[in-house]
């Protein structure tokens, strides 16, 4: 075991980095290196040689230029709440942490756009724009801490995907630093723009492998003034799953359409004692939003669909306190599951909506064959499920079963016409499975694109580009 006492960084380089961002924002001590060795993905840990926290585009560009000259890898990082290991500096190098770049540069109500720095916390941005009657729909689970730059880099999703889409649908343009330190501008503050290739959308979801973002131009929509929530319990999961396409076919596009399975519900009840009816196999949480008249009409349709759906029980929330009660089970899901075992491995396989029943059946079969506890909840409306594997990282045998189960889970999703990841990204965790979905030709094509942007392979090395079998 090689114990590295000193950071793998020459004193000269350290000084130069410190000169760019200021000594107190260039961290090379063991405590700092240890503190930026992880993200929210259980089971991954690797040390950077240095952590820098720049405050401006110019500082970022200078840091990148210096790293390019020295051949040092760069791992960009926001709040580090990634769920695919994308911010773990697996090849060492420099972590560029954007948490100090947290200015909301402008919010333009007339143009319905905002310009922000990448370190702005998602929930703070929500508050600021909502106070002006505007709305930024992407709401990833970690919104209270995640940064917008990280959301764009991962193309984060959330609960509102079905009606409002994901982060990508709200990114109009970027200011970015390329691997050689040059600064580019993609997109614009206009909704229409067909000038050149759509580099904005190429960079969005590129997981830090193509460029570092230093400013984001985001699209906003008017804030929906009304909403109505529904909660429906089902005695079998197939009926719950069948209700999802039924709602959409009836012409309702709910802002939220969440599903929770038996194990999750049991965990929630054990943890939060909400008094959920016993013998439940599934629960659907539905919320429609929009103008009051439209919400009334959609709510009426939801009630019709639910009454025909075979739900064993359902209720509607007409006021805020009932809504809070209805939402409490969904809000408690992660806490309830994560308290059962030390580690919680949260997958995000996504399948076409009609395949949700089949995916649930497969997850149950995998859980029983590998003797694992897997609670599943997720965004049923867009087919994005979160099979959550409960385990203990110290139990090597169990971890081996987890690894095999995850591999089978991915294959199952692919065979149903789904994808490996709906919103967490490929990062490290799914890197060795990428070719199963994309195939060799696409992987090579992607690597060619990567080489054009980053010939030295400096940006977020070791992530998201797959392996060639």
């Amino acid at each position: 075991m090689a114990v590295q006492r000193e950071p793998n960084l020459s004193p000269g380089l350290r000084q130069q980095l410190a000169r760019i961002v200021g000594a107190e924002n260039c961290l090379t001590g063991p405590v700092a290196r240890e503190s930026y060795a992880y993200d929210s993905t259980p089971g991954y840990r690797a040390f950077p040689a240095a952590v820098v926290l720049p405050a401006s585009t110019e500082e970022v560009a200078k840091v990148v230029r210096l790293c390019a000259e020295a051949g040092l890898g760069i791992t960009p990082r926001g709040a580090g709440t990634n769920l695919s290991g994308g911010t773990v500096p697996v090849k060492g190098g420099v972590v560029v942490c954007f948490t100090r770049m947290q200015k909301i540069v402008s919010v333009d109500a007339a143009n319905q756009t905002a310009v922000v720095e990448p370190g702005v916390i998602t929930a703070r941005f929500h508050q600021v724009v909502e106070a002006q009657g505007l709305f930024f729909p992407p709401d990833p689970g970690s919104q209270s801490v995640s940064t917008l730059g990280g959301n764009v880099a991962e193309n984060a999703g959330g609960l509102r995907g079905l009606k409002y889409g994901v982060t990508r649908d709200y990114v109009l343009g970027l200011e970015a630093v390329l691997a050689d330190g040059s600064i580019i501008q993609t997109g614009s503050e206009t909704l229409k723009n067909v000038t050149g290739y759509n580099l904005t959308q190429l960079l969005c979801g590129s997981e830090g492998t193509l460029a570092l973002f230093t400013k984001l131009i985001l699209r906003l929509v008017p804030r929906p003034p009304a909403r109505r929530s529904f909660l429906a319990y089902f005695a079998d999961i197939q009926r719950a799953a069948a209700t999802v396409p039924a709602l959409v076919e009836a012409g309702v596009l709910p802002a939220t359409l969440e599903i929770m399975d038996r194990i999750t519900l049991q965990a929630v009840e054990d943890f939060a004692h909400l008094g959920l009816p016993g013998g439940l196999a599934a629960m659907l949480l539905i919320e429609v939003d929009g103008q009051p008249a439209q919400v009334e009409a959609e709510a009426a349709t939801v009630e019709v669909v639910l009454s025909r759906s075979g739900a064993s029980e359902w209720q509607a929330a007409r006021d805020e306190s009932t809504r809070n009660r209805i939402w409490s089970a969904r809000r408690a899901a992660l806490a309830a599951l994560s308290r059962r075992r030390p580690a919680t491995i949260l997958e995000d396989v996504t399948v076409p909506r009609r395949q949700i029943p089949a995916m649930f059946a497969t997850i149950q079969s995998i859980a029983s064959r590998y003797q694992l506890e897997i609670g599943t909840f997720g965004h049923a409306g867009d087919g994005n499920l979160h099979p959550t594997i409960l385990c203990d990282l110290r139990d090597r045998k169990e971890i081996n079963r987890v690894e095999a189960a995850v591999a089978e889970l991915f294959d199952a999703a692919l065979s149903l016409g789904g994808v490996l990841s709906g919103e967490h990204g490929i990062g490290l965790a799914k890197n060795r499975f990428l070719h199963r979905q994309l195939g060799q030709t696409v992987i090579i094509l992607q690597r060619d694109i990567k080489r054009t942007f980053d010939p030295q392979g400096l940006l977020n090395p070791g992530k998201a580009l797959g392996v060639i079998p």
């Binding site: 075991m1 090689a2 114990v3 590295q4 006492r5 107190e24 001590g29 405590v31 700092a32 503190s35 993905t41 259980p42 089971g43 991954y44 840990r45 690797a46 040390f47 040689a49 926290l53 405050a55 040092l72 709040a79 580090g80 709440t81 697996v90 090849k91 060492g92 190098g93 100090r100 947290q102 916390i121 970690s142 209270s144 801490v145 992660l334 994560s338 308290r339 030390p342 919680t344 990282l393 090597r396 045998k397 081996n400 079963r401 095999a404 189960a405 591999a407 089978e408 490290l428 965790a429 890197n431 060795r432 690597r447 392979g457 090395p461 070791g462 580009l465 797959g466 392996v467 079998p469």
Partner: protein, 526 residues
């Protein structure tokens, strides 16, 4: 802390529960100021865990310890080939499994935690962060010792009630020599003082004046309730005993008027929270056991509650102390039984006595805002009762401040160890107070009062701090006999005077979220 082994040992399983989800980052006051991983719960827990029992890194193919024992699944596909990404030309650096972190290096992350409990409330996995951090501090102190000043304060003065009482009495006579009485100097300095000489760090600090007569003596001369009455005990704690003695007197009066006798044993010692959070666990255990015996005797004698008016003491008696006795179910059981009878005075007044104020209008028609002490709102779960009390008081206008339950940065003697961080955290609180245009800041913890008083003077805001019990007591007295509040037309905003903005005390003023650039992370001589 069991006699052998480390204080952290009973918490190893709890350490494993942290998923690094980062929800603590949304609420941690020190993370809000620094935006750095080593200043937030998950970072602190990670550092502690790496010191005591690192988690394996099973999914990283590059991990040399990653020994593959392929599980033979009944019907599974190949797990694919792991290994590094062929696309990267970047030179790979040998990845060490562990960094040689000197345990001394984690002092700053360990001791920069305020103990405000915000992360524990936000944590989906229920990690007892505060207990873990204080256990790690105990092991740290066991290994590296404590600074002389801290040792004197915690193991000397606070651990010996006689020292505290006589020290305070001496101080009350001698304080004029060393401290400037601000009543004459500053318009809003009544009852406060500031060091005369340039002591390091604290030379600008405003302190409450030590009481001439300690609380115990004052209480001895007060009449109890007339006729048949119920009985409660009062645990004043150190600050209410020697500085804010008016609070205990106010509670005595309020209870006596409502047919409740308040017993305040002279034998109480410090609740043990300062010793516990600063890692002096042996001292803390002694203090907790000593007080536990008194509580048990009181409860056996038919006292219905043990009341506290200091949020930290209450929180300590009610549950924090249990962490000191992990693996000792007998003591924990006794603590638990006693804890069931511990209640904050505001909660007792509302929930048990259904408090109705006296006949007199209080504090003119001032705007009053309420600050939630961390240990009251999260430690004891008391949020509504103090607000209810304010609503019932005639005359005043209660106005809710933004983020009323955010830490004020006081945290006991935190301001001594981390003066700059403490001041920037407090600055947010002062801004929230200023927005309400409040003239009075009511709270229910003397430690918060001390921190806020200093801030209100420092930033010349013209508002004043008051313990909520004092306001309630005022309603029993005609205006001429009430505590005198300085009436002002409106409070001014914080930092209006350049010289007093925290911008001067902290290298660069950080309104909003101060960045690490603005914070010289220096430790004082502690």
């Amino acid at each position: 802390m069991s006699t052998n082994g480390r204080a952290i040992d009973p918490f190893l399983a709890d350490l494993d529960k942290c998923l690094r989800c980062g929800f603590c980052m949304a609420v941690c006051p020190t993370y809000a100021e620094t935006a750095r991983e080593d200043y937030v719960a998950r970072g602190r827990l990670n550092l502690i865990q790496q010191q005591v029992k690192p988690l394996p890194v099973p999914f990283l193919a590059e991990d040399p310890e990653h020994v593959k024992e392929p599980y033979k699944p009944p019907a599974a596909g190949e797990p694919g080939n792991g290994g590094s990404n062929g696309a990267d030309d970047v030179a790979e650096q040998a990845q060490p499994r562990n960094l040689a972190i000197n345990a001394r290096d984690i002092r700053e992350p360990l001791f920069s935690c305020l103990g405000c409990l915000a992360c524990e409330t936000a944590c989906p996995s229920g990690v007892p962060v505060t207990a873990i951090v204080s256990a790690a501090r105990a092991d740290f102190v066991g290994r590296y010792g404590m600074s002389a000043v801290k040792r004197m304060a915690i193991q000397g003065v606070l651990a010996h009630p006689a020292f505290l009482a006589w020290g305070a009495r001496l101080a009350s006579f001698g304080q004029g020599l060393f401290f400037q009485n601000l009543s004459r100097q500053l318009p809003d300095g009544a009852g406060h003082q500031r060091p005369r000489c340039r002591l390091p760090l604290v030379s600008r600090r405003v302190f409450p004046r030590a009481a001439r007569v300690p609380l115990a003596t004052r209480l001895r001369h007060l009449p109890g309730p007339e006729g048949p009455h119920r009985r409660v005990a009062f645990f004043p704690g150190c600050l209410l005993s020697v500085a804010y003695t008016d609070v205990g007197v106010a509670l005595h009066n309020l209870l006596a008027k409502r047919g409740v006798a308040m017993i305040t044993p002279a034998e109480w010692v410090c609740c043990g929270l300062p010793a516990q959070v600063h890692g002096a666990w042996a001292t803390a255990r002694q203090q907790v056991l000593h007080n536990l015996k008194i509580m048990e005797a009181l409860l056996d004698a038919g006292v219905e509650r043990v009341l506290t008016a200091c949020a930290s003491c209450g929180s300590q008696l009610a549950h924090h102390a249990a962490a000191l006795f992990a693996g000792e179910p007998a003591v924990q059981g006794r603590l638990q039984r006693a804890a069931e009878h511990v209640q904050d005075a505001t909660a007792y007044l509302v929930d048990v006595l259904d408090f109705q104020p006296g006949p007199f209008v209080v504090a003119g028609s001032m705007i009053v805002t309420y600050h939630d002490p961390c240990h009251l709102v999260r430690g004891l779960g008391v949020r509504e009762q103090p607000r209810e009390l304010l609503r019932r008081l005639p005359g005043i206008h209660p106005v809710e401040m933004k983020e009323a339950d955010r830490c004020c940065g006081g945290a006991g003697i935190y301001f001594l160890e981390h003066p700059d961080l403490s001041a920037t955290i407090r600055h947010h609180k002062l801004q929230a107070i200023a927005q309400t245009r409040a003239q009075l800041v009511a709270t229910a913890c003397p430690a918060c009062m001390m921190q806020l008083e200093d801030g209100l003077v420092e930033e010349q805001m013209g508002a004043e701090t008051v313990h909520i019990l004092q306001l309630l007591d005022d309603s029993e007295h005609p205006p001429a006999e009430q505590r005198r509040y300085r009436s002002r037309t409106a409070a001014c905003s914080p930092g209006t005077t350049q010289s007093s903005s925290p911008g001067e005390r902290v290298a660069a003023a950080g309104t909003g979220n101060a960045s690490p650039a603005n914070l010289p992370f220096r430790l004082c001589g502690f």
